[in-house]
Amino acid sequence: MSVRAGERALGKAVSRRGERTLGVLSAIALLGAMVMALFVTPPDAEQGQVFRLIYVHVPSAWLAYLSFAVVLVASIAYLRTTKTRWDRLAAASAEIGVVFTILTLVLGSIWAKPVWGTWWTWDPRLTTTAVLLLIYLGYLAVRRMTDDPRRRGTWSAVVGIVGFVDVPIVHLSVVWWRSLHQAPVVAKVAPRMAPVMAWTLVLSVVAFTLLYAYLMVLRLRVGRLEEKAVAEALSPRIGAAAAKAAVGG
């Protein structure tokens, strides 16, 4: 075994250990947030127990927007550099973002039923989130349109940029759409939260962000393995070299 191969194996072991540490950390943080949210915080004065959904609903929404912001940055970086790793990053973040957008909508719906009396209301935030989901489902669909990695990267990067830029306009249009006829009926979350509630919310946002980092690391590794497998399947000989380049790049 050459020195370089040894170094590479060592690096891989370290990164795998880092991955596991990140996983354990996010599990601990999530567990802590769960205990705080379910047992330590009091139920809301007005909404009662169902208010506890805020500790998962808000962090999910935060993750959704964080993921798509990462897609935007990675997409711009990909168009400028055409480095595969930026495309891999954008794809991983988009998938996680879609999962958390769906989670946000479902949790919001479950919360809305007892509080507002309906599963769905055409509130600007809800509607924008739904359109956001559709845009990024489109992003993932574009990724499946071609097998050519360059083409897939460029196309999806353009969607990743344009889609994110569109979101504020969609939001504004939905706000106007509602407000020109009637004032929004949906009350905002209580203006001042009890400190223990606020801290629990902060903890669960941190926990979800750690989870995002962990999922990203996993998904990026899967992405690298996918590229390696494709390269090897295409040509066992050349594939080995290409795979090395993919893992390094």
Partner: protein, 231 residues
């Protein structure tokens, strides 16, 4: 300036293809008419319902029909390696985008005039109460729509384009155009009552949103279209 001249040449080429092929007349317009008829059938013969929903149905028909036009605009480029020819032509990539968007805008505006006449007849929409607002709404809305469609229309040139990806991409992005278009049209076609003045003013404010949408998508298209055409 030369970019605009190049764009004009591309637009002229696309319009010439359209005039000679008559695809819009043969397929897109009948499709839009079919949509309006089935909308009318689905919502029942009640005159009041049809009148209040007419602006929405009008824009839905335009939106769905426009998807066909965008497709057509790039289908013509897939044959005989025409797209490679365009990509290799010594012109600015932005000019190709602007030219194709301009050509499809012209086509859609003609289509919209026909659809509007049809809606006026079928659903009893009074189109005469504020023509200036109506025309501005359609021109601005169509420009934004064409920018989105011409940007992602390139994807139609891919071998696997037959999937439903293109509408899935264009329709959510065009949500602001749909909302602004419907609201401005509703304001422009409202019958002359006391509340008309107020409604019309809110109709004009929607045009601001359309201007913002157009600016963002024309700028975005001009900047990134070159990447889409690269390979």
């Amino acid at each position: 300036m030369s970019v605009l001249l190049e764009a004009r040449a591309i637009a002229a080429k696309d319009l010439r293809i359209e005039v000679r092929g008559r695809y819009a007349l043969a397929a897109v317009l009948p499709f839009a008419a079919t949509l309006l008829i089935v909308f009318g059938l689905a919502l029942g013969p009640g005159r009041a319902t049809l009148q209040t929903t007419a602006p929405a149905l009008l824009w839905l028909a335009v939106l769905f029909a426009s998807v066909l036009s965008f497709r057509r605009s790039y289908e013509a480029e897939t044959e005989d390696g025409a797209l490679e020819g365009l990509a290799l032509a010594p012109i600015d990539r932005a000019a190709i985008f602007l030219g194709k968007a301009a050509a499809v805008t012209v086509q859609l505006l003609l289509l919209e005039a026909a659809v509007l006449a049809l809606v006026a007849v079928l659903f009893g929409l009074s189109v005469g109460s504020d023509p200036a607002l109506l025309i501005c709404a359609f021109v601005l809305g169509t420009m934004g729509l064409s920018a989105v469609g011409s940007l992602f229309g390139v994807l139609e040139a891919s071998p696997r384009a037959r999937e439903a990806v293109f509408p899935l991409l264009v329709l959510p992005l065009a949500v602001p155009v749909l909302l602004a278009g419907v609201k401005a049209t509703a304001a422009a076609t409202v019958a002359d009552t006391g509340a008309a003045a107020v409604t019309t003013r809110s109709g004009w404010s929607w045009l601001l949103l359309l201007v913002a949408f157009d600016a963002v998508f024309i700028a975005a298209g001009t900047l990134v279209f070159g990447y889409l055409l690269e390979d």
